[in-house]
């Protein structure tokens, strides 16, 4: 009862850290999806990017970036690879030549079947109910919003 130090505040036990738990879970998703992605010829970040395009086609690079929390320095090369593979097309906007519009090709849209399979595969392995998962998603989104807001506050 006497010793307090760091024990009452997570201390150094890595497994008690929320950031480490999230790091590990993210890592596990990465490793789980990677071999499945490989069959489609894409990487995990490319998969996430395609999901954003399935949700809404014909987005600007910066629009995609807002959705995925990435900027042109990351997206430009990634999109170029997707373009080389023939899954998307990139074209300067007629209205504003600064903007590049990213669109799915037929081949890109064709990936959606494989993607659905992947989702079933991952979800089938988590023996959790839809409600439980949905609740967890909400909690994680709360944390994300809180940390993002806190960072804004600090850097302001």
């Amino acid at each position: 009862m006497a010793e307090k130090k760091t024990e009452d505040f997570q201390g150094f036990e890595l497994d008690q850290h929320l950031c480490f738990a999230i790091y590990k879970a993210n890592h596990a998703f990465n490793r789980f999806y990677k071999p499945v992605m490989k069959k489609l010829g894409i990487t995990y970040p490319q998969y996430i990017t395609l999901l954003a395009l399935f949700e809404k086609d014909h987005q600007r690079v910066s629009e995609l970036g807002e959705r995925l929390f990435l900027e042109s320095n990351t997206l430009t090369p990634l999109l170029k690879r997707l373009e080389e593979m023939g899954f998307i097309a990139r074209a300067r906007s007629k209205e504003d030549e600064r903007q590049v519009i990213v669109s799915l090709t037929d081949a890109g849209r064709g990936l959606s079947d494989g993607v659905i399979d992947i989702q079933h595969c991952a979800f089938g392995n988590l023996d959790a109910s839809l409600e439980k998962v949905s609740e967890l998603v909400d909690q994680l989104n709360d944390i994300q919003r809180t940390l993002t807001a806190a960072k804004e506050k600090v850097s302001a």
Copy 2:
């Protein structure tokens, strides 16, 4: 009630995806910690690595790798940077010359004060109780274990 397709299974709404929620939360932790880490002169992965060493000093590279889910191809250069900065020492084991033992230096141990501050900082911004966080950590660890086990199963 007629349409089924993908809607009853998360479909393409990115925000309903557990993997995306985790991706975002991990990203938010990264962005939140980054400027704080910068004051200490280290990166987020280096921070995680140091946490593992605070928990247990004098680990082999492969031991650290198991803990952090990384391998020598990632750890070797990262550890070399921590060594250059004087936070750790790397030395071949006398018993087995193949092994490299990673140890904290005084300067490395000295970082732990700053690290405690960082943890307070992050935790103070999450207006969640310790129990709530602990519960969330357990759920995330469950997911990680499940996905890791599922991957083993598939690759076997």
